[in-house]
Amino acid sequence: MSTDVGVWVSALLTIAAYSFLWKENRFFRAVEHLFVGLGAGYGIAMGYSNIVSKAWNPITKEGKLYLLIPVIMGVMLFGRFVKSLRWTSRFPLAFIVGTGAAIALRGAVEQQFVKQIQATMMPLTSVGNLIIVVGTLCVMSYFFFTFPKNKALSSVSTVGRWILMVTFGAAFGNGVMGRISLSIGVLQTLFGEWIHLIK
């Protein structure tokens, strides 16, 4: 068994968390609260370092006073906690939402739309290519919800639904795989680092 304090702490916390699988209990609730607190504290630490390096230092050491604008907007975010100042948090939110939406939009047009359609334009010389081209069109037709579909379009969108089911099945299989991997990781830590059962 390990003699490292850190390994013991991590093992006991893991067991307390896993105890929920048997039944909800006070140990689980305690570590749940602890985890939330630690995560929030970690976020504060990271946020602080960002503010110091990207705002405080440039303002105080390089004289970039215009950076006071985003600093003030950042402070305005906390206005949501005071009833009379709740409206002030809309300004920084609007800025973030506006810039974020635009940044996603401009990249999506070329990279997600044009390039993906380009990649779908392939010669229909093999079964695989046929499945990709026809399948993509069928799936896209499934997402027409704003007008009633005629018989032909309904049939096409039904094929699209079948293809989506295969896609979701692959996603489900992958999801299961991923979670099992995470469980294996926990067991490797508990029975490898703590109890030394795994060599």
Partner: protein
Amino acid sequence: MKALLWLGNVDRRILYLLMGFVLLVPLVKPMGLPISVSEYTENVYNEIEKLSPGDRVFLDFNYTPGSIAELQAQADSITKHLLRKGVKVIAICFSPEGAMIADDTLNRIYGGAGKVYGEDYCHLGYLAGGETAQGAFIRDPLKACPQDFYGTPSSSLPICKGLSNGKDVQALIYFTTGYTAEWIRQAGPLGVPIIAGVITVLGPAQEAFVQSGQLKGLLVGMRGGAEYEIIMDEPGSAAAAMDAQSLGHLLFILFIIFGNASYFIQKKYGKKPVGGGRSHEY
């Protein structure tokens, strides 16, 4: 028939214990099932092989401790490959926890091999803001990150000399639990070669970017990490976990079959079938 019906209605805690047991046994006593290396892993390997000593790459550690089991093996193996090739690494993170993970990974692998911080590798820390931050970083990394993770001015680091935008690096490699297309939207227009390491659940969605050539390589989950350990000839924890992964999958499939068999038998004989609708006990 009674056995099948019983198997269709096992208490969940027995299922959990069985799962834990089935995963643990092959970890303690490995079965030695062969792990084949897929074309995807070979593509990633070949892309990194194209790099030359002195080239610079961005490494984005965008995962949380919750996904370390899936992605750490990929991150370790690829970082070791970059080390072998003499490539210089600039780490950046857009998830808060990634900063500490990057710190540990780089110090362990590059630092442990005697490489010099600031010359052979550096860690520019965490940048808040998601895709907005990614866009700012790829356009002007030193403006977006004026200091590194430890508070040193980035422009004073020799590795950052001449780094004006994403075109000044030879690749961008990211490990993520959450991106679908963010780096492709932000770095794609600059023509930066992009390699992705993703958790298993994101794998199917990334297929489209691999086929279109927008992603030069893709590693998926713990299996991807295991394959890269094999291709690097350094089997580690991911390769060791594949036996357990196999048995876990088998257990899953078996119990789905039992559940379905029990359901159809009950349906056939007119009893109220278990499952297939709302179930409040998970």
